[in-house]
Structures are given as C-alpha cells and as structure tokens.
Amino acid sequence: MPLLELQGVIKNYTKGDQIIPALRGIDLIIEKGDFLSIVGPSGSGKSTLLNIIGCIDTPTKGKVLYNGNDLTALSDKEKTYYRKENISFIFQSYNLIPVLTTRENVELPLIIEKKFTKKEIHEKAMKIIQIVGLADMADRFPRELSGGQEQRVAIARALVKNPLVVLADEPTANLDSEMSEDIISVMQKMNEERHTTFIFSTHDRLVEKHAKRVIILRDGKIAKDERKNNGNTE
C-alpha cells in the first residue's frame, strides 16, 4: 500500500465570482521513503499540492489517501492530529517564532507532540541543531540570525520530531551552495536511514539533482513524473 495516494484531486479558488483552478485533477502515488521534488513555474500549483498533502488545505474534489485512509474525510481535530503525528513543514519564509530562541524553536514540535520528557526534548533538539551547524547559536533569537541561519533552524525544527513526511517549500532558497549541500545530505541521510519521505517544492537545481523523483507541474496538472535511479532517469 502506498504511503500517500492522490486520486483526481482538483482545487479551485474563488475570487469574487471568478473561479481560479489551482489543481486540475492530480493522480499521484507517493511511496514511503520517496525523495521527491515538485518543480514548475509560479502558479503551477506546487504549494497548493503540498498544502493538500499536509492537510492544511482541502481539495475541491478528489481524495487524498494516507496509508489507505481518506484524509479529506477527517475532521479538523483529526487533521491536526495527523499533522502532529506525521508531517513536518519547512516554509520558504522560515516562519520561526520570534520570541523563542533557536533551541526553543526546534523544541516546539516535540513539546506539541507531548511524547518526551524535558531532558529528551532538550537532547533531541541540541542534536539536530548540531547537525545543521548552529550549536553555538542555540540561545540566539531569530532576529540575531542571518536568513540562511534562520532557514537552517526551520529545517532543524522540521526534522527534530523525525516525521514520516517532510513537506518543504523552497527549503534551500536562502542558503549558499555549500550549506545547501550539507542540509540536503542531512535530509538524504534521514531519508536513507529512517525512510523519511521528503516532498520538495523547489526551483533549486541542487535539490532537483539529489531528488530520486522529479514531478513537473504545469497549469495544475502533472506534466512529467520521472524517477531517477543512480543518477539516471527512468
């Protein structure tokens, strides 16, 4: 059974009397452990697709199955629970909590999960902060960090709870190529060791290069779905 399956997903937005289609019938199967990059021009529906998979938006039509369960039929409470248990987001604009330090921002998803002791939360957070190279900035507030550092905190925050699916909207947009490589290798390591599924929406060639699978979206439809094997496309 696939981890995620989208069946005929349509998403329309309304602006006054106007209906603006964002997704025009998406059929997609995502397996556990996919390292998937969604590419396409602005307005092609990349973010909408991520939002629907992340259960923070609902399709106008169609089904989204997670381990065979229809996410579109879930109540708001159940969707919140689904996100808490399975999903992590990395946003293009970081969206860190400004009044929390690096460490506290990274600890937040674990605190929301309510599964670990304070000590465990602290240890897990510090470990991932070290991985993203911000150990000496653990007690700094977001305003004291550069854009790239903020994005690394956002990435650490997404990875700390070891989620099944990470949805990343332009995760390397504000990082230099060296840091991008480092971050991608962290994500690849998690993907390989823990079979975490990564779904990127990106313009970054580097992410595309490392992705095992690339989906090209155009006008709300899948224009191409290519799976790479050892650097070769299938």
């Binding site: 923070i56 400004p98 009044v99 929390l100 937040l108 929301i112 999960e113």
Partner: protein, 416 residues
C-alpha cells in the same frame, strides 16, 4: 513555565508600550476602586462611630410606651427601677459602660430669638463611659456649682449669639406638662463631627433637670456601651447577643441595638457600596476594551505564527490558551499596578485623611458628617479588585483568542 505561557510572556514583554498602556487602564480602574472603597469604608466607620459614640450607643433601652411615642420625647414613660437594670447590665461580658439619659424638647431664647432644641439630660459621672461628648467640648464640663449649667451645640450657640459664660433662657414642659423656664449659664459648646448635634442639642445634668423638669428620678432611656472590636462583624454579633439576652430578661422593655436604630443609614451604606462597585465595573469595562484591542493587535501581528503552530499540529484550544495567557499577563501586571496605586493612595488616606472642613461643612448621603475623613484598610476589597482585574483581562482576551484559533492555516500562512 509552560511553552504557551512562555511565548505569551515574551510577547507581552516584547510589546512593552502596548502592554503598559493596557495594564495602566486596569491599574487606574482598580486604584480608583480601592481608594473609593477605603474612603467609603472610612466614612461608614466614622459615621458608625459617630452614631454609637454621640447618639445611639451600642444598645438603647426604653419602655415600650416611650418607644411608641419617641418622636415627641415624652417625659411620662420612665423605666421602673433603672438602678437594678443598670447594675445587671454592668455585669455582662464586654459591657464597658452604662448610663441613664432623659431626652426632652425645649426652646432656647436669648430674648430676641427663640429656637427649638433637643435636650439631653445626662448623668455627669457615667455619661462619659458611654458617650464621647467630652472631647468635643470647648469650655468646661459640668461642675458641682449650684448654678444651672448648660452646654450648647456650637452652631446653636453661634446662631443664638451666646458665648461661654453668657446666660440663656431655656423653656420646656415638665414631667407634669406644665411650662417652665429658667436661666442657664453656658459653660461650654459642643463641636462634634455630627452637625445635627452641633446645631440642635443642649446638655444639662440630672442635678439641674430634676428641679427644672420635675423629673423626680425619671429615666427614660438607658444607654449601653460595648467593647469595640477590630472586626465590625464581631462587634455587631456581641451587640446582638447582649440585646437578645436583655430582651429575654426584660420583656417589658424596648431594647434596640444601634443597627436597628440606624437601619436607614446602614441601608444607605450598602447602597453606596453597590454604586462604588458599579463605578468600578464601568472603569473596568473601559479597561476591558483596552485589553481586547491589545490582544486583537497581537493576534493580527502574529497570524503567520498562528499558521505555523497550527501546521505543526497545535490544537485550536492551545492557540486560545496562548492568547489567553497574554490577557492573563496584562491583567496580572495591571492588577498588580492597580493594587500598588490604590494602596499607595490609601496609606496617605489612612494616615493623613481628607480634611472635610476645607471643603466647607456638608452632609453626605443620609447622615451628616464633617471633620477629617480617614481611609480604612479593606483587604477583602483589595483581593477582590485584584481578582476582578484578572477576570476582566481574561474575559476581554477570549474573543480575539477564539478569532486566532478559527483562522484557516493556509490563509494564516499566506498572511503578510
């Protein structure tokens, strides 16, 4: 400290100016309430003290017939064997003094003007154990002189144009309802905190009144003073208990506590407290609007943040709690500031008081009072104000908190 409260506290600290202004409105509201409560309690306490020490005593005993006609202060209904009653009451717990009094109506004349007065015949020795008139007397208290001595209310003396040492004529009906008049020497004037006494009352001694009013040892009332307790409620309980005991012992007598005698005044006191509370509610309603606005601003500033928290799996009720915490902190700061402000002003009121004479003589609602009005400490009112400020802050932040929780995650994340 939980994460939600930590985030809330840091946000409250981050917006110092907004927090301070919102808290200030609460502080002013609570401060005014605490101050008003202090002044009103002080006024009530002073009025009750006035009543007990100058007019009603703790318990007043008359015959039932006298009580039925008390408006005319008749001299025909004396208490039978008053010495026995006085001697029995003196032995009771917490009784600090017992004295007889006889009141009568009379007229005072300076040969040009005549004024109606309320006469009080007092026992020179025992009256001071119950009433506190002596400290308000300018001039002398009653002596062993064979002359007819009289003490007048200060305003009355001024009205009649007499000074200490002058003579004045007093007219009154005797016990046998025959008209009598005699000359009295003014030995002192009474300048109490009760303008009614100052402008209407005269005092003469039983030694003088026996002959002038043909009293023949007639005593129309017995006044009882009881030990004053720090706690007003305990004092009234003591008074009630003794009054009940005396009612059982002397069923033929009319026994009234000062609470019964001053029931009208005590009702006014309750009303004043009620209006004080209404005023506080109005002020705090204004404060509530301030807090509502403050938390709402906070919600609008942090819409994206709310989106992130919801995307991470934070429940709606946790978002509500997050913003309620902000309200609680603003309320706590405001209430704390209010209590400091109120208590600060109160210290001055308790120590120095408000000199009412400076504003001219006046009457407050229902009972006359003048002099220096001191504040009272009312811990209950301070605690109430603190908790109430907190509740108002909590209630005011609830609606914006719910608005925050209802935001759609995608819209919140897109919000710029």
């Amino acid at each position: 400290m939980g994460t939600l409260s930590k985030i809330a506290w840091r946000n409250v600290r981050r917006n110092k100016r907004r927090t301070f202004l919102s808290a200030l409105v609460i502080a002013v509201g609570l401060g005014i309430y605490i101050m008003m409560n202090s002044v009103m309690s002080g006024m009530d306490r002073a009025n009750i003290d006035n009543l007990i020490e100058l007019s009603t005593s703790s318990i007043k005993i008359t015959t039932q017939e006298y009580n039925d006609e008390k408006e005319s202060l008749p001299l025909k209904y004396g208490i039978t064997t008053p010495e026995n009653v006085i001697s029995y009451i003196k032995k009771q717990d917490r009784v600090t003094g017992v004295t007889p009094r006889t009141q009568f109506l009379g007229q005072l004349s300076n040969w040009e003007d005549t004024m109606p007065v309320m006469g009080q015949v007092i026992n020179v020795e025992t009256d001071r154990t119950v009433f506190d008139l002596e400290k308000y007397i300018d001039g002398d208290y009653f002596s062993d002189s064979k002359e007819n001595e009289i003490i007048l209310g200060k305003d009355l003396a001024e009205e009649m144009g007499v000074n200490i040492g002058d003579y004045i004529t007093l007219y009154a009906l005797t016990k046998y309802e025959s008209r009598n008049a005699d000359e009295f020497i003014v030995i002192g004037t009474l300048n109490t905190t009760d303008p009614n006494i100052n402008s209407n009352v005269i005092l003469i001694s039983y030694e003088t009144a026996d002959e002038f009013l043909d009293l023949e040892n007639l005593i129309t009332e017995i006044d009882v003073a009881m030990e004053r307790r720090v706690n007003y409620e305990t004092f009234t309980q003591d008074v009630d208990k003794l009054a009940q005991h005396l009612k059982n012992k002397y069923p033929q007598l009319e026994i009234k506590t000062f609470m019964e005698l001053a029931s009208g005044f005590l009702k006014i006191t309750e009303q004043k407290q009620f209006f004080g509370s209404i005023l506080m509610l109005v002020i705090l309603a204004i404060a509530a609007v301030g807090i509502f606005n403050s938390v709402l601003m906070s919600v609008y500033e942090r819409i994206r943040e709310i989106g992130v928290l919801r995307a991470q799996g934070m429940k709606r009720n946790e978002i509500i709690k997050l913003f309620l915490w902000e309200g609680i902190y603003i309320g706590l700061i405001g209430s704390f500031m209010g209590v400091i402000l109120g208590c600060g002003v109160n210290i001055y009121l308790v120590i120095h008081g408000i000199p009412l004479e400076k504003f001219g003589k006046f009457s407050n609602v229902g009972i006359p009072y003048w002099g220096t009005l001191y504040g009272e400490w009312n811990i209950g009112a301070i605690v109430f104000a603190f908790i109430f400020g907190l509740i108002v802050a909590l209630a005011a932040s609830y609606i914006p908190s719910r608005m925050a929780a209802k935001l759609e995650v995608t819209k919140a994340l897109r919000f710029v």
